[in-house]
């Protein structure tokens, strides 16, 4: 039974608050010292872990089936991380959004991200028959689906920008996802491989980023093929924060961070598990008591019995026993 000196107020509400934000349940119960311990320790460990893992240690993926050529991903560790509450919960929503996106991409009509019109700043390079391969920056606008043909769904758009030397550029864009003349990274993912084809030829290291989305498309003049623009467009925060990672991204992270990534996982797991203790404390009060109790009668008796049995084994006790019997 909870010590009457501890005011749990509404324990269920306190437990929910303690789960959602470590320390909040105890602050609601006016147990401010404990609130400080729980929030500082749990959130401190959790966010330190996130920092060690470059904000990619917490993600949730629960594949019912494996993608072609890939293993089925199930992040059991998230079941521990989610104990931290609100800071980790968005990963569930991101998993649902990611699944919807993949289901859409697998369907015949290819809806999902390809239906949205893309208007974004672009950075990358030009691969052009006349202008060569300069670095370029600019704006891609109105990239949208224009029709379905035998060879796939076709998209049009415009690029307006300049080379890094300041030469203005303007191109029409035309591409088809199925033919490879348009490649757009996943709309929702934690990390995107933004390797450019030119860089692959030069055998440079792969480049990954969460806030950048791969964008390669053919550059045309009327229908004449002039080359490609290859680079990235921006990916909004809500489309990469705590979003699932694919196998390739996980391999990249493990290779880049090594032990540090494993430490990040351990820190975030332990933070979530520790908060379970805090939730239970908010619901039921401390497990052993207030902390100033005297030992109860049973334990007193047990300890005195132990003391007697120890004394009984001493030579003095044997002498006394012998005297009493004579």
């Amino acid at each position: 039974m909870t010590d009457p000196r501890i005011e749990l107020r509404n324990p269920v509400l306190a437990a929910v608050l303690a789960f959602l934000f470590p320390g909040a349940g105890h602050a609601y119960q006016r147990r401010y010292f404990k609130a400080a311990i729980y929030s500082v320790c749990v959130l401190g460990i959790y966010f330190w872990g996130c920092s060690l893992g470059e904000a990619k240690a917490v993600h949730f993926r629960w594949d019912e089936r494996a993608e072609e050529g890939q293993s089925r991903q199930r992040t059991f560790g998230y079941l521990a991380q989610v104990g931290v509450g609100l800071p980790a919960l968005p990963a569930v929503a991101q998993q649902l959004r990611h699944t919807d996106q993949r289901d859409a991409a697998d369907s015949d009509q290819q809806p999902g991200e390809v239906l949205e019109e893309i208007n974004s700043e672009f950075t990358g390079r030009l691969n052009h028959v006349e202008l060569g391969h300069p670095e370029i920056i600019g704006q891609v606008t109105g990239v949208t689906r224009v029709g379905d043909y035998g060879y796939g769904t076709e998209f049009e758009g415009t690029f307006i920008g300049q080379t890094t030397d300041g030469n203005p550029l303007q191109f029409d864009l035309l591409g088809s996802r199925n033919s490879g003349s348009l490649q757009i990274g996943d709309r929702i993912t934690g990390l995107d491989n933004v390797t450019m084809s030119e860089l692959v030829l030069e055998q440079q290291e792969l480049e990954f980023a969460g806030d950048r989305r791969r964008f390669f498309v053919r550059v045309v003049n009327q229908t004449e093929d002039l080359g490609m623009i290859e680079g990235t467009i921006s990916r909004p925060f809500h489309n990469h924060y705590l979003a699932p990672l694919d196998d390739e991204s996980l391999q990249y992270l493990n290779g880049k961070l090594g032990k540090q990534y494993e430490l990040a996982l351990v820190y975030t797991w332990i933070a979530g598990l520790l908060n379970i203790l805090a939730v239970w404390d908010a619901l039921q009060g401390p497990a052993y008591g207030y902390g100033d109790e005297e030992p109860d009668e049973d334990s007193k008796e047990q300890s005195s019995e132990k003391a007697e049995s120890v004394n009984a084994d001493t030579p003095e006790a044997d002498t006394a026993k012998a005297g009493a019997s004579s």
């Binding site: 147990r31 404990k34 311990i37 401390p286």
Partner: protein, 69 residues
């Protein structure tokens, strides 16, 4: 011996990451057992020393076992 401790003390050694973790675990676990501030802190300190002492013991055993390797 000295080289082993130097290795342990190296800034990049991940062993040091156990200290804040052990501190947080000790505080949260003790706070979930008792309500009295003084009791929580004393118990947390004792638990922290137990954890770090145990790990130091394991380190010494492993170091002794690997001394002639």
């Amino acid at each position: 011996m000295i080289s082993s401790f130097l290795l342990l003390a190296a800034a990049q050694n991940t062993t040091w990451y156990v200290l804040p973790l052990a501190g947080a675990i000790s505080l949260v676990y003790s706070a979930s057992r008792y309500e009295l501030t003084e009791r929580i802190l004393k118990r947390a300190a004792r638990l922290f020393l137990t954890i770090t002492g145990f790990m130091a013991g394991v380190f010494v055993i492993l170091w002794l076992l690997s001394a002639n390797l």
